[in-house]
Assembly symmetry: C2
Homo-oligomer: 622 residues x 2
């Protein structure tokens, strides 16, 4: 399999050569690679190069090692629905949850809908125009005037109306108070109405195909955001967007990613791309800007003004999305440069905006966004968690795909390590929940100290001095699916500590700002691709989540995707999203001394102030 | 000058070889021409061919004779404003016109308008998105929400707003109750707001450039509709549109015609094409269909259903119109397959829809459309006049351009002929008003009889047997600008009689249908490109117009263009046009026995029933 086929050649020589994730083996052809510390001597001898530091001189034949393969992911696409109801019930039972909150239901009124109409045949006495006949019938059906049919549909109308003897199916949407006719088809095609909900993450893009008539989810897939080749986080993407054709490159990359997902979803479900007339997208503000090709320049400059937070509905053709050309692309509204439509979607999915008592939503993506509030008020902030929880920027980090280590247990002093993988396949890398588990277990086992330093003096051969410093072996080469040891290196641990510290300190400052404590929270909703697979206990041990009874935590999975689905299927949810985006107050903590103090305190396991984590304190002394 | 440069090579071998109008001289190159009876022996010897019957074998050098030259026309572009007020005053004074009707005034509210806004600078405490800031300012200015800014404008918004320190000019329009932001420019550009009104005639396209702020007309130009190469009348255009790429060819031809006019208008006025953000077009239903690229197939088939009469507003880019890409193209609404937006525009311009007593509007284009009504009712019909009054399909017919014969006097028995031309230039052909004058004069002088037969036995050398039958010389070769005799041939007279008969009989059946007589009419408005230059007396003598006192006739010039201008400049006029189109009842006479009877009776000069024309009867016996 050729690397170029997988990720596009933009990977070549565009990255920073820092993460070592784009290792490939050059089998044939002329390449010039720069020296890098990210490859072991063994790897160099085997012909490995870093794609991001390699210039190709012509056609090359490349082997992509197993742990780099792009595969559809099953885990990151969970919208929490399988577990949510149970969790909610459990939580309500255990904790006597104030209002017995259940996942909200919205009235069904999809973004686009089909209506089958039998028009009357014209006669010499009734020869109004085809367009007037069509619009009269739509009005009689109950649609709100004015009715607007674009020129594209109108041009072909004469033949379309007559093809099945004046029996037609129209696809309608409501835009700015007018009814818009997106598509006119001959005959009754009302059973073929599909939409797609997309969560556009900085690292991972997940999409669900939905039957707009029944509301049923026909399939869900996720894949790597192709923009990753231009930088791991939103800041590096924005910087790239300011260079030459950067914005266009980034837009093309994410559109191709979405189109890949659409293609795979329709192939599996046996649906025609042309029958997809609505796409509801939730992403952070940078992702939304890049999807729509909007200027990102001011997003990262004081006073951090986005081009748009409530963005215009676009046509699929404007963006080269491969649905029906007149298909709508509606992005959920965001709040600020660093709190986007994904968070609005998360609030829609969680329902914290309707509860009486305050709750918190923590969305663990590349940015860790946090929302606190109730039906009267909502505040939010963004924590620059970085992509560590998505397995990105880590030596053996991968997304939660087949063969990803997701559960780790470590015996005392690093002995007796077991690693459970997704699909029980041989380990090919470690995903976010695996890293959190491993970090907690290594800490409990004494493999690392409170600052995260690996103790290489332990008796176990699993701790050792590697080429890039101290490392811990999670799985040996002989058990692994890559033929190499699966390791956690010292810099991975530093990454993880910075990420968990960023999230915890932001959450802490948010509750402090509102003069609350974590204990005042009715519930803490955990969203994000790996949310459902997170071990709460481990997350508390490392100081990522506040030390609350486990029943207070509610997994809502990929709540950005859930919110995007709700907006796809319900006008009430779309209205709710607008309302949430309007009334949510964004807090900018990045330059606040209080936040900096909290952050520095959080760069320990679990925290410099161990009193904040009584369970851990008790466990450590046990 | 090369013919191909003038009309495009589509002329070659697409015509029917019947009118002899596309004569060119081949100077160099390989051509194959078919024999034709439309060229004289002299012409064949001089190297003349008919372009429409000639195949070119490669590059050719061609001379286009003077009488074929395309020139901007000054006469067809008259909107009657120079003469209308005087005429109206005269008419009111002479006839005691019932309501002293004057040309209507509409409140100024152009289709698109510019507003200059100073936005507040964002700060950390006020960092709403650029789009929200823009839309707030527009709302504060008084625009109706919802406000809709398309993706194209939004993408660039960040830099545009900051380029002149938050001073911007927006171009707004109202569409379906929403305010649409078409353009955002840095700085104050509010003085540069232009629009174009276009009359899309089957034969001639006329356009005016207007300053949307002041309402001033900056220039008016007219030219040949490039579609003419595909057929002279709407039926032959529709037939062509049904073949292969025919519809696209016809659309491209008219769009190129409009773009040519736009280019010439802005060049003369020193205006930038990008500052044109609105185009208001009036045309018959076929012309409107072809401009927008709509299916024409059913226009000519029972029960004669147009694709659309009230057509969606299009964007300039959708049509390749060379104005600002987001410029609007709004077509005036029509009534039926054969009564289009040009007639609605004519009614808007005439104001007959507001008068108490009934009036009639006769629009003398390729189709002669007739409207009868008052403020309570409006009926209309279409008469297939053919293009004779536009000089098309006639041996020496040309449009009313420099050198066109527009006034003719003929002495008794054909002696003492004088011919006055546009611009007093040597005669190069005869335009519509010249033909009507000539026909009346020839009839009065006894050169033709009541059936239109030329008497070649007269003593004058001006009547003679030509190659294609009897003919009458209006101007001798030695006085003409073409070096050839300017003649009226027998078939020209037959054309003219059919045209005038079609118009008169339709008008007659229309008043009969409403149980009125011509004498009940308060006024007869004469519209059409040559309206102002028509000799009413001559038109009555040939039986084109009903025999009413001359003060009853009111010239309103190119009322389709006037109506298009009104719609460009005023929401009230646009609303009025919609109202007129909705309440006007179209009469289909073509298969009515009453109409056929009237038509046959009209194929005489002035009519079989001379009693209908007492003035002529009196004149003949004088």
């Amino acid at each position: 399999m050729c690397f170029v086929e997988l990720f596009g050649c933009f990977f070549f020589f565009l990255g920073g050569g820092v993460c070592g994730k784009c290792k490939v083996i050059v089998r044939d052809g002329d390449v010039a690679d720069e020296p890098t510390g990210e490859l072991t001597e063994d790897e160099v001898q085997q012909g490995f190069v870093l794609a991001c530091r390699t210039t190709i001189g012509g056609d090359v034949e490349i082997e992509v090692p197993a742990d780099s393969h792009a595969e559809w992911e099953q885990i990151l696409t969970d919208d929490g629905s399988s577990r949510r109801v149970t969790d909610f019930t459990d939580a309500a039972a255990k904790e006597g949850s104030a209002d017995g909150h259940v996942p909200r239901q919205f009235a069904h009124s999809p973004l686009t809908s089909k209506v089958c109409l039998q028009l009357s045949r014209p006669t010499l006495d009734d020869n109004m125009s085809d367009l007037a006949r069509l619009e009269h019938a739509i009005r009689r059906h109950g649609a709100e005037p004015p009715i607007w049919t674009g020129l594209g549909q109108t041009r072909r109308l004469g033949r379309t109306l007559r093809e099945r003897d004046w029996l037609i199916t129209v696809t309608l949407t409501e835009r700015d108070g007018a009814t818009e006719v997106l598509r006119v088809e001959p005959g009754d095609t009302s059973e073929r109405a599909y939409g797609v909900a997309v969560d556009i993450g900085t690292t991972t893009v997940a999409a669900s195909l939905l039957d707009l008539t029944t509301g049923e989810t026909l399939g869900t897939k996720a894949t790597h955001n192709r923009q990753t080749g231009y930088g791991e986080d939103v800041i590096s993407r924005i910087i790239h967007s300011e260079r030459g054709n950067g914005r266009a490159d980034l837009q093309a990359a994410v559109v191709t990613t979405v189109n890949d997902l659409l293609g795979a979803l329709v192939a599996e479900a046996g649906v025609d791309l042309d029958d997809i007339t609505a796409l509801s997208a939730a992403g952070n503000t940078t992702m939304t800007h890049l999807l729509l090709g909007m200027d990102c320049y001011h997003l990262r400059r004081d006073p951090y003004v986005p081009t748009a937070t409530s963005v215009p509905v676009a046509d699929a053709t404007e963006l080269d999305i491969r649905s029906h050309p007149r298909g709508l692309v509606a992005c959920l509204p965001g709040v600020s440069s660093y709190v986007g439509g994904d968070i609005t979607a998360g609030v829609v999915a969680s329902g914290i905006d309707e509860a009486e008592r305050p709750s918190m939503l923590i969305d663990l993506g590349t940015n860790g966004e946090i929302v606190l509030g109730n039906r009267d008020w909502l505040v939010c902030c963004s924590a620059s968690a970085g992509p560590a929880f998505e397995g990105s920027g880590m030596r053996c980090g991968i997304r939660a795909t087949q063969g990803a280590v997701q559960r780790v247990s470590v015996g005392a002093d690093g002995s007796g390590v077991t690693a459970a993988t997704v699909g029980d396949a041989p380990a090919i890398g470690i995903c976010g929940s695996g890293y959190i588990d491993a970090l907690a277990e290594m800490f409990r086992a004494g493999v690392i100290d409170r600052q995260g330093a690996i103790d290489i003096d332990l008796a176990t051969p699993r701790t050792r001095e590697g080429e890039a410093g101290a490392e811990f072996v999670v799985a040996w080469a002989k058990e692994s699916g890559t033929g190499a040891d699966i390791v956690i290196v010292q810099s991975d641990i530093e990454n993880l500590i910075r990420s968990k510290g960023a999230v915890y300190s932001a959450a802490k400052v948010l509750v402090d700002t509102m003069s609350l404590t974590f204990d005042d929270l009715d519930a803490v909703y955990i969203g994000g691709g790996f949310g459902n697979y997170l071990d709460i206990d481990a997350a508390i041990w490392i100081g990522l989540l506040p030390d609350l009874p486990s029943g207070r935590f509610r997994f809502i999975g990929n709540c950005s995707l859930t919110g995007a689905k709700a907006a796809l299927l319900s006008a009430e949810a779309r209205e709710k999203a607008r309302d949430i985006a309007n009334r949510m107050t964004n807090m900018e903590f990045s330059s606040e001394p209080a936040y900096m103090g909290e952050f520095i305190g959080s760069l320990f396991i679990p925290h410099t102030d161990i009193g904040l984590f009584p369970t851990v304190k008790h466990g450590m002394s046990a």
